[in-house]
Subunit: 222 residues, 2 copies
């Protein structure tokens, strides 16, 4: 594995676009990996391809739609993304069980194939959606397990882990990808492509709510 | 999750067939999950379906062939299953990077969908093929990470973990599935279906070698 080569788990949203900029400014070789897990808002994959092209990064897409069919989530099946999860009463309807474990397992395998010594992921446990698989404890445990299982030592980087959404906007600006975040990145659970000052989206779903609030805090502090 | 419902990760080989018998004798509800990961010896999936039918267990197959294409392994790409792995010099050519992480992540997600509180896997670190993802340390770390990521408490059972292959034959006999192991289960990496006293297979590949040796030890001690 090459410690100068980073693979970014890239959904095409605000967070992973910011991570792509962050990685580009730190590693000589950067590639992006998107996973089609049967998300209803698959427009994010179209946007991911556009962003990768604009930033000149090789972009791979894994076709794993079966995953969305086998789990229960309002992101992969009909239903309101607002309320509580049908199986996990303490978690939001948009929680996709084992999604980040699935992403990390696939990206960690891809990194071995590609010889990438670094894996970058845009999770945050600060202004997050209440998903337990966005917490540092999970990312650390998963990274350790995956390295044990393959006898490798791939470094996990989660540069947004302790940032608020407002700080993530500031980081995007610092890393030179704020334009990509605002014009191209897609976070909206409803797949709505309306342009707003804070980016594309419906403005009503939990993902848009977090993003808009972060933008207001970011711009208020400028 | 129902602690009386077990999901068995079921390849159709000797070990997971033994686990299916073991689980059937311990849990009121048992289901089996097979994963088509693009293995060359996919005849194991046909055998898995036959064994599940004979044992009266609901059997599900996930179509995830993309996984075999993205990793390097002599089990999913042309090449001799004998020598060393092309990327991992200390491991055998048949090692499939992150395969057990992939299986566990999917089965753990499926268990949440199915409400199964127990996950059973036929890994062994005793008479094993030198795969780091068959060791107890990995299984424990992975189980902990997956439970953390989904805020659940699914119990991982690996009844063969400390058994030799000879002891696994004895366990199959004790659990009442030795006939299924010998007549139907498929372990051979080369996908050869020749019948032998110790079961189906070519007799030459590493998987057949382990199985034959175990059978000889088991029968010598009878």
């Amino acid at each position: 594995m090459d410690p100068q080569k980073a693979l970014v788990i890239f959904s095409g949203g605000q967070d992973s676009t910011t991570c792509l900029g962050w990685a580009k400014n730190r590693y000589p070789q950067v590639e992006a990996l998107s996973i089609d897990y049967g998300q209803k808002h698959r427009v994010e994959l179209t946007q991911a391809a556009k962003i990768a092209r604009r930033l000149g990064v090789a972009h791979h897409v894994l076709e794993a739609e079966f995953f969305g069919r086998m789990v229960k989530s309002a992101l992969t099946h009909p239903g309101d993304v607002g309320g509580a999860h049908q199986d996990h009463p303490g978690l939001p309807a948009s929680f996709v069980p084992n999604r980040n474990a699935f992403f990390l397992t696939l990206a960690h395998a891809w990194a071995q194939t590609a010889g990438a010594g670094v894996l970058v992921m845009g999770v945050s446990q600060t202004d997050y959606s209440g998903y337990p698989d966005c917490r540092e404890e999970f990312i650390t445990a998963m990274g350790r397990a995956l390295n044990l299982g393959a006898e490798v030592d791939i470094v996990m980087e989660a540069p947004l882990l302790h940032l608020t959404k407002a700080q993530t906007f500031a980081l995007a600006q610092k890393e030179g990808v704020l334009a990509e975040v605002l014009e191209l990145s897609h976070t909206c659970y409803n797949g709505v492509e309306t342009m707003n000052p804070w980016g594309r989206g419906c403005g009503d779903c939990p993902a848009c709510g977090l993003r808009r609030k972060g933008w207001e805090e970011y711009t208020a502090a400028l």
